[in-house]
Amino acid sequence: MSSLLLNTNIAIFLLAEWIVWFVLLIAFGVTVYILKKWDFQSYTPVQYRLEKYAYLVMVILIFAFSMKFILLPYFIFTMDKISDIVPGAMCSAGVISFNHYGMKLFFIKLLILLFLMVWLMINHYDLDAKKYPWFKLKGWLYLVIFLLISVELYWDYAFFNDIDIHKVLNCCSTLYGLLEGVNPLPFGLDKTRLLILFYLLYIMIVLSTFGKQYFILSIGLILFTIIGYYSVLYFFGTYIYQMPNHNCPFCMLQKDYYYIGYLLWGSFIGGLFLGVTTIIANLVLGIDIQKLKILMVLLFTQFIVICSLYVAIYYIQNGVFLEPVKVEMVM
């Protein structure tokens, strides 16, 4: 058991995760009971009690969603705090790459937040409809969510427990361990093509949202996740750090960049989440939610504007674009 667990912030974080998990365990038991006994047509008092239990599950999940929503930035902050203790790590990026749990943990947390948001959306429309049409769907979705959360809890513990604070660690510049000569960008794109795609995808998403073409929208979202992430990492990020070779998604979350990372990644991930929720709402439930669509477009626009502003301001100030220096592997 590494002494890290005694660190106050980590202890608080793990305690919070554990409590949320425990409450979700209760909701899990209730959901299993409901799924077993649910029969909308029956008149028995058991059936009426089930409806009440469904509200308990709803309350617990709203609580879980809001707490997980707070715990994600707290997780990043905690890693930032212990980056002073972990040798060599300059920012939370370094810490997260410490063992294989780090990245997996981060993505599963995002996934859980997405699933919870989808569940709450389905629940909202399930209650509005008169016959609880998607009641079973909610139940099964929750079972999946609970499974993910249990995995997350285990990984939380394993991740912090596995950090050996004496092993020297390299920080985010070598974090991505790129093979020399390999093009870091996806699909073999180069910088200019990456940027063109970045803006084209944005336009396509906006158009397909209002054109109600959900198939195109889903392709757009998937591609935009990849292209967006890499454009920020390898192009816009360098303008935020004003250092051509600093490709790190986490460092912009720190104080010295005025926490711009939270706004930037928040709007990017927020837009993606809402996009996925709208698609599910339309394809699975067949409901068209105007509010979500507009919010999604707004979030993406905000994301695009922030990125482009940084480049524009840099260009205005220095009259030239940042040219990344070719790093020679000098041995």
Binding site: F187, G188, L189, L207, Q213, M331
Partner: protein, 168 residues
Amino acid sequence: MKVIKIFSQLLLVLILSIIGYSIVQEDNPIEVVKGNLSYKPIPFILEKTDDTICKMLIHSYYGSSQAITKNGDTYFFNDIGCMMIWLEEQPYKESIRLWVYTKDTERWLNARLAHYTTRDKTVVGYGFGASERELKDSISFKEMRVRMLKEEHLLNPKVRKRLLKNRY
């Protein structure tokens, strides 16, 4: 409304074509060659193959080595030390064929049979050079592997001082 629909479809086609074009035209260096069931060393293309451990392009055969797993995946290393680190992380170590490029006879030799000198100037700097014939103070494969894992190689300043006598 109709215009929006058409325009977004057009955009989709344009985006997919750009991506398609770049994927086809991309030529990243190789990291692993699969399906080499003959378990024979592959004369890999220099400047176009990467060492999986130290993530560098291999510039010359001198000092390089190869490892072929049971299912034919062949990995390349520009320094024998890297291969040992890689080997440590693999399951079923015995079933993996290891080849080194000998410096004296300049041909691929089974690593477990080769002799290793400890003061060579190698790419990463671990200092293990493979040779076919037994030289003055060369060591066996087993001894080399243990030394590598005990970090008794030239990158360790204390060892370098003892072996090379100069400071750093």
